[in-house]
């Protein structure tokens, strides 16, 4: 006999379940988790290298480094004296909540205020997978071209913050920053937007301040939600 069954089930239900377990664990320990996403080479690690020294005096921070292969990024972060664990996806193009679940055993979670996850460099796939983070920081470098918000919309849709990186290169490019900003605004009207340049450190302090506020908010009530409203406060 043939039957038609109407259902509505989220395709990524299993990942979302693991993500909510992660989020509950972070909440119980007062840890704020930030998922950093963006294309390969957009400057995620450089931005972390610039921002972490501004945080470590007041916040206990650790970093999970997602990568296809090699531990170079993790070594760059560890060189700053920040506890780091490398997650190798073995060719997989994104991290899942389960990857993170396993990696949590390798950071001192109960002695942290802020856990930063650098996702695998890929502007499309990682955006589909909730890791249990409280906020997403999307990174887009000006070197990638001004049309990218349109091409990678999901990267921005659920972001609470956006860093437009490598702004020191703007004088060398034909780039309409206002167009990029307008396109990003339509995708995530409530996100905080930072324009940064890692070599000079320009724009890094506002990002550091955003991270400080985010982690302070979480450790107080223990139940920060991943809503856009959280970041705009």
């Amino acid at each position: 006999m043939i039957r038609t069954i109407p259902i509505v089930r989220k395709l990524l239900a299993r990942n979302e379940h693991a993500a909510s377990e992660n989020r509950a664990r972070f909440g119980a320990l007062g840890v704020t988790c930030v998922n950093v996403l963006g294309g390969a080479g957009c400057g995620k690690t450089a931005l972390l290298e610039a921002v972490l020294p501004r945080l470590t005096a007041e916040r206990r921070v650790a970093v999970l480094e997602g990568d296809l292969a090699t531990t170079r990024d993790a070594e760059r972060i560890a060189a700053l004296g920040v506890p780091t664990a490398q997650l190798l996806t073995d060719g997989g193009c994104h991290l899942t909540a389960t990857h993170v679940q396993h990696a949590l055993e390798r950071v001192p979670l109960d002695a942290l205020d802020l856990l930063i996850i650098e996702n695998v460099g890929n502007p499309i796939c990682p955006a589909n997978f909730d890791l249990g983070e409280h906020a997403r920081l999307a990174v887009l470098s000006v070197a990638e071209g001004e049309d990218k918000p349109v091409k990678y919309p999901l990267l921005f849709k659920d972001a609470q913050a956006v860093a437009i990186s490598k702004c020191d290169l703007l004088p060398h490019l034909r780039y309409d920053l206002r167009r990029t900003l307008a396109d990003i605004r339509r995708l995530c009207p409530d996100a905080a937007i930072f324009t940064t340049a890692a070599p000079s450190g320009a724009g890094v302090e506002p990002l550091a301040e955003w991270l400080r506020r985010l982690s302070a908010a979480a450790s107080a009530p223990h139940n920060i939600s991943r809503s856009p409203a959280t970041a705009s406060r």
């Binding site: 039957r3 509505v8 990524l12 605004r185």
Partner: protein, 124 residues
């Protein structure tokens, strides 16, 4: 690409639902995918075929329903379907200030084959 990963998840939850319904085989799987997910139909079908091997979905046909992107007009607040990124409000011709939807990723329907005795347990 993420199609393979999405297809694996789809086959897994379709299998769960089919088993719950006592199905012997899944004939059709219908999913709804929003435009923002940037899923390529051709790649998704191929990926589904691979992921479905040796599962209840092995011979199932995949139907993909596309969920549109909508925009809320920055002028009059109307919500309109966006055919492309720079679509403007059909009434006041203003650009959308906020995008709605487009991130759907759901299993919405299954067509399954159940053994006849299952439906008439008394006759079994």
């Amino acid at each position: 690409m993420h199609e393979l990963s999405l297809a694996r998840h789809l086959v897994e939850i379709a299998g769960d639902e089919a088993r719950r319904a006592g199905a012997a085989r899944v004939r059709r799987v219908r999913c709804r995918i929003g435009l923002l997910r940037q899923v390529d139909d051709l790649l998704m079908r191929e990926a589904f075929g691979l992921a479905a091997r040796r599962t209840l979905c092995e011979t199932a046909e995949l139907e993909i329903e596309h969920a549109p992107l909508r925009g809320r007009c920055g002028g009059c607040g109307r919500v309109f379907a966006m055919v492309d990124w720079h679509a403007t409000c059909p009434v006041c011709h203003t650009e959308a200030e906020r995008l709605l939807g487009g991130d759907e990723l759901d299993l919405v329907q299954l067509e399954v084959e159940t053994p006849d005795d299952q439906d008439h347990p008394d006759c079994a």
